[in-house]
Amino acid sequence: MSDSSKPTLKGIPVVDTELRQSKYDPPDSPSSVGYTSPQRMQVADENDPLRLECGIDFFPINVEYETYGALSANKDNAILITHALSGDAHAAGWSDEADRTKRPWRSDRPGWWDSMIGPGKPFDTDRYFIICSNVMGSCYGTTGPASTDPKTGKPYGLSFPVVTVNDWVRVQERLVTRLGIEKLVTVCGGSLGGQQAIEWAILYPERVQSVIVLAATPHLMAQGVAFNYAGRHAITSDPNFNNGDYYGQNEPDKGLSVARMIGHITYLSDVSMTSKFGRRFQTSDSRGFNLDTEYQVESYLRHQGESFAKRFDSNAYLYITRAMDYYDASEHGDGDLIKALAPTLCDWMVVSFSSDWLYPPSGSEQLVRALTRTHKAVTYVALESPYGHDGFLLETERLMDIIPSFLSTLELRGKTKRSA
């Protein structure tokens, strides 16, 4: 399959994703934002706690975020990028303190959406001020289960409250407001990040001119909830889990690695796996009659699982997947999605990826249908893609085409907007 001829399956050409990922813009490239460093802001304290959806008034909340480009004098060129399950605030450029922040994996690759953010890129830092912040409950700088609980002086662990997409977005709103920004040009994210974009449109209709929802649906389907449960179960069954109180000891890395393997399967597709691995063996040409890691696909998953366990916190995985399960945009309309979306005022762009079975196109179309039935301004792009859910990170060529088109014509569309 790795012959010189490009593999195609079901007529869709499959590009080697590793090859694509090797095409990074170095920090001195004119299209890179260069070296970046994270910033911190406290957005909730004793006097101004955040009432979480679960009912708890929570503080302190510190947010790690990065910004790229310059905020205009009128503060009207800001874009918020929202990350997915395992993402962080480091969306573009090269971390200049990968060692100090004990995030060595950042030294050999740029931010997770570097292909899309930078001078002359779709999220053009010559024009826009780009913000990306880490979500609450994660392990990359924003307050989460691995943070120290000031009351006990120890990590929260499982005493950390169950946080939701709604909570995340309200934390982001505090950050954006404190940066002096009244209205965002767009909120854009994929997967769980796309659900944050939906939530922004519903919670703050006056404060978003547009939202871009990639590979995300109004809620996760039962199948997705099931995979998340299996992943969490792997973590909590690890002998090192110790009810979440494992910090400073052996961590439940085996469980986390299994959870990541399960997750990874849901991000790929039948087509992309067949193309990438087929039934090829890793080292030999035939069966070894043992139960070790023999197939390439096994070796790949194992690598993904192990490297993820080195860079992610098990408790954070539990909390974030729970937020993923819980999200349902229709709750704002008592189960009626049309009602939930009724207050939104922004221009929408929804993009689905044909082979995505975690957040399938049919789910994106549910969102689009709820919008069109009430005359909301919406653009829907159904991309043919072999990459499964990962399409939103890999189909950069297509996104590089449509995202700038969408953003540069916002004013034009705004003039002929229907009064719903």
Binding site: E365, V368, R369, T372, R373, H375, A377, V378, T379, Y380, V381, A382, L383, E384, R398, D401, I402, S405, F406, T409, L412, R413, T416, K417, R418
Partner: protein, 245 residues
């Protein structure tokens, strides 16, 4: 916004105009817009010009199979309409987006019109698309549910040149305006002007206006246009008496 009852007279009674004049209007010669377009294809979008005359200023317009969005962009710029496009092809969708035309990438064959509520558009346009859909009756019914007025154009397979081709050569014709072979044409519903009239009758659709195009000129349809018209355009509505489904 639009009540065709108040406009019993069709808005257009222009004499057929020569091609050269049409080109001066600045119509985009976007050959690949045409359903199943390839090259060569008709240069003049006579139906674009006509539709721009039919559509009332400020109307809401849904274009099913909107191609690269050039009609909707022209209607927006010249008639201040509120446009909405539907197109299945990714490259064409990208072109719509460049023009700032709101577009939904959906397949008409998936019965997608439930995306829109009843009577939610003043005009629904089906420009050289009817002959490409799997279920024309469903599309016709749905377009007149969603829109107050429907505009349908299609190539007339009853044109004398096509008849002549089949009679003399015995094969399906390949012409500049129908550049495909039978096995790769997107035109899977080959209909004539007369077929369409019967189709409307059968589906209880009221024909408000009829136009035809032949030899680079267009005008109100004439008696023998089942034989002479290369393309036809109809303005339709559902009779008031049969508002129910």
């Amino acid at each position: 916004m639009l009540d065709t009852k108040e406009n019993p007279e069709p808005p257009i009674r222009s004499k057929p105009r020569p091609v050269a004049e049409l080109e001066q209007v600045g119509l985009e010669a976007d050959a690949s817009d045409i359903a199943g377009g390839g090259s060569p294809a008709p240069i003049v979008r006579w139906d674009h010009e006509l539709i721009q005359k039919i559509v009332t200023p400020g109307a809401t317009v849904l274009d099913l199979g909107c191609g690269r969005g050039s009609l909707l962009a022209a209607l927006r710029d010249n008639k201040r309409v509120i446009p909405q496009g539907v197109e299945v092809d990714t490259d064409k969708v990208a072109k719509c987006m460049q023009k700032g035309v709101p577009v939904l990438q959906l397949n008409l064959d998936d019965g997608i019109l439930d995306f829109f509520p009843d009577r939610s558009f003043d005009f629904v346009i089906l420009e050289k698309t009817l002959q490409t859909v799997t279920r024309p009756e469903q599309v016709l019914r749905e377009m007149l549910r969603v829109g107050r007025v429907g505009v349908v154009s299609f190539p007339n397979f009853g044109h004398w040149r096509i008849r002549e081709h089949i009679r003399t050569k015995g094969t399906m014709p390949v012409t500049p305006s129908l550049p495909h072979e039978w096995y790769n044409t997107p035109n899977i519903r080959m209909l004539t002007v007369l077929d369409f009239e019967l189709f409307c009758e059968r589906n209880k659709v009221e024909i408000v206006e009829r136009y035809s195009f032949a030899d680079g000129e267009y005008g109100p349809m004439e008696e023998d246009d089942n034989f002479n018209a290369e393309e036809a355009l109809y303005v339709l509505r559902r009779p008031a008496a049969s508002n129910g489904r």
